[in-house]
C-alpha cells in the first residue's frame, strides 16, 4: 500500500473516530488535540500532500495515536502528548514541503539565470561578430581611401610635373607671364595672312605647343583674346580680331582643348603692347593672347569687361584717349619679357 493510500485510510479512520466521539457523547477533545487536527488538515489539504506525502502520512499516524488516546482516556496527559507529537509531525510535513518548494524555486531560478546568461552570451557573440564585421569593412574602406589618396597624390604630382614641363616648353617657345594667378601666353609676329584669319603654318606649330601645354591645366577656363594694330577702322579691327581669336580657339579645340572651357574674344586695337608708329611695334600689337584663368578667381572676362567699359565713347574719343606713348616706347622690348600689360593705348594716327 502506498503512503498516499495509507494516509487516506488513516484519515478515514480519524474521521470515523471523530464522528463516533460526537455521536457517543464522549468528552470533548483537548485543546492540544484540536490544534493537532487543524494542523493535520492544513498539511493534508496543502502542498505537503503532493510534495511530501510521507511526512503527511507520518502526521496522520501520529494523529491516529492521539485520537486513540483520546478515545481510551479522554483529556489525559497521554492524549495531550500524542496530540503534541501529531501537531509537530504536521508542522514538520508542512515545513519539509516548503523546503521542497523552495528548492524547486531555486532550481527554476538557476535555470532562468542560466538561460539569461546564455542569451547574454549569444548577444555578446553576435555583437562581437557585428563589430568584427564593421571593423573589417572600416579597414577595407580605409585601405581603399589610402589607395585613392595615393593615386590622387600621384596624379597631382604628375599634373604638377606636367604643368612645369608645359610652362618650360612655353617659356622656350612663347612669351608667357603670370598676372594675379592667371597665366597669359602672348603670341605675336606673323600668325595670320594680312587682313585674314587663316593661321599660318608656323602659327599652327606654335599653337601645337600651346595646346600640349594647356593639357596640364585641365578644368581651368581659357580665354583667347585677339588684338590688332591701330591701322584701319576700329570696327574692322574689332571684327578681324574676333575672327582671328575664333580661328585660334577652333584650332586649339581641334588639338584637344575642351570646347566648354575655351572662348574667344576680339579686342581690336585696344591694349597695345607697343607703339603703332613703327612697323615693329605694330607687329607686336598684332597678337593673340591665350589666358589660362585661375581656378576660382575672377575671370579674365572681368578684365576684358573692364577694358571694354573703360573704352571712351566715339563722341569724346579723342578727349578720353590717353596720352601718346613716349617716343621711347619699348618697341625693342619683347612682350615675352614683360609681366604687366601696358597701361595706356598709344595715340598714333590710324592707318
Amino acid at each position: 500500500m502506498s503512503n498516499t493510500s495509507r494516509t487516506l485510510c488513516i484519515s478515514g479512520f480519524v474521521g470515523l473516530a471523530l464522528m463516533g466521539t460526537a455521536c457517543g457523547g464522549a468528552a470533548a477533545p483537548t485543546t492540544e488535540l484540536l490544534t493537532a487536527r487543524n494542523a493535520y488538515a492544513t498539511a493534508r489539504n496543502g502542498e505537503a500532500a503532493t510534495l511530501n506525502p510521507t511526512g503527511v502520512h507520518a502526521a496522520a499516524e501520529a494523529l491516529q495515536a492521539a485520537e486513540a488516546a483520546h478515545k481510551d482516556d479522554s483529556g489525559s496527559q497521554r492524549e495531550k502528548n500524542y496530540a503534541y507529537i501529531a501537531l509537530r509531525k504536521s508542522e514538520l510535513a508542512i515545513a519539509a514541503a516548503s523546503e521542497a518548494l523552495a528548492r524547486k524555486e531555486q532550481q527554476r531560478a538557476e535555470e532562468t539565470y542560466k538561460g539569461q546568461l546564455e542569451q547574454r552570451s549569444d548577444q555578446a557573440t553576435q555583437q562581437s561578430s557585428q563589430y568584427a564585421q564593421q571593423l573589417t569593412q572600416t579597414q577595407q574602406q580605409l585601405q581603399q581611401n589610402t589607395q585613392t589618396l595615393q593615386q590622387r597624390q600621384q596624379e597631382l604630382e604628375q599634373a604638377r610635373v606636367a604643368a612645369e614641363q608645359a610652362q618650360a616648353e612655353l617659356r622656350q617657345a612663347e612669351a608667357i607671364r603670370e598676372e594675379e594667378g592667371r597665366l597669359i601666353i602672348s603670341l605675336s609676329g606673323v600668325l595670320f595672312e594680312p587682313n585674314g584669319d587663316v593661321l599660318s603654318t608656323l602659327a599652327e606649330r606654335r599653337l601645337d605647343t600651346v595646346a600640349h601645354a594647356l593639357g596640364a591645366y585641365k578644368d581651368r577656363p581659357i580665354v583667347v583674346e585677339g588684338y590688332t594694330d591701330a591701322q584701319g577702322s576700329d570696327s574692322k579691327n574689332l571684327e578681324l580680331s574676333q575672327r582671328r581669336a575664333n580661328a585660334v580657339r577652333e584650332y586649339l579645340e581641334r588639338r584637344g582643348v575642351e570646347p566648354e572651357r575655351i572662348r574667344a574674344v576680339g579686342k581690336g586695337e585696344t591694349n597695345p603692347v607697343a607703339s603703332n608708329d613703327t612697323a615693329e611695334g605694330r607687329a607686336n600689337n598684332r597678337r593673340v593672347e591665350i589666358i589660362v584663368d585661375r581656378d576660382n578667381g575672377p575671370r579674365s572676362s572681368e578684365r576684358s569687361d573692364k577694358v571694354s567699359e573703360n573704352r571712351p565713347s566715339s563722341a569724346d574719343n579723342s578727349a578720353a584717349r590717353p596720352a601718346p606713348a613716349p617716343s621711347t616706347a619699348p618697341s625693342s622690348q619683347s612682350p615675352m619679357q614683360r609681366t604687366s600689360p601696358p597701361a595706356q593705348e598709344p595715340a598714333s594716327p590710324r592707318q
Binding site: 496527559q77 497521554r78 502528548n81 500524542y82 503534541y84 507529537i85 509537530r88 509531525k89 508542522e91 514538520l92 515545513a95 519539509a96 516548503s98 523546503e99 523552495a102 528548492r103 524555486e105 531555486q106 531560478a109 538557476e110 532562468t112 539565470y113 539569461q116 546568461l117 547574454r120
Partner: protein, 117 residues
C-alpha cells in the same frame, strides 16, 4: 552549540548519579537531532530556535521524570523532544533553502537591470 556542549555532559552526570533508567536510545536520538539542528543554523532562525529550546528542555524534563521513576511520561517527553528537534532542523533547512531561492531570483533581477542599461 556551546549550550549543547555544556548541558550534554551535565545530563550524562545526572543520569549516572540518579541511576535512573532513561531510555538511552531515544535520548541519543534526541541529542543527535538537536546537534543536527544546531549545525544547520537553527539558532539563527527564531522559529527553529524556539523548537530547539523546547527539545532541550523536554530532554532535561524526561531525565527528571525517569529519575522519579515515571518511565512512561519520560518516554513521551523524549518523543516530544525528538519531534521538536526534528522540526527545528527542518525549519532551519527550509529557511536556508528559501533564502537561497530569494538570492537566486534577486541575482536574475539584477542581471535583467544590468542588461536593460
Amino acid at each position: 552549540m556551546h549550550v549543547f556542549k555544556l548541558w550534554l555532559p551535565t545530563l550524562t552526570v545526572l543520569c549516572a548519579c540518579a541511576g535512573a533508567e532513561l531510555n538511552q536510545a531515544r535520548a541519543t536520538d534526541v541529542q543527535a537531532a538537536v546537534l543536527a539542528a544546531e549545525q544547520v543554523g537553527a539558532n539563527d532562525s527564531p522559529k527553529a530556535a524556539l523548537h530547539l529550546q523546547l527539545a532541550k528542555e523536554q530532554l532535561v524534563s524526561a531525565q527528571r521524570l525517569a529519575a522519579d521513576g515515571d518511565q512512561n511520561n519520560s518516554n513521551l517527553l523524549l518523543e516530544r523532544a525528538k519531534v521538536d528537534a526534528e522540526l527545528a532542523l527542518q525549519l532551519a533547512r527550509t529557511e536556508r533553502e528559501q533564502a537561497s531561492a530569494r538570492e537566486a531570483w534577486e541575482k536574475i533581477r539584477e542581471t535583467k537591470q544590468q542588461s536593460a542599461r
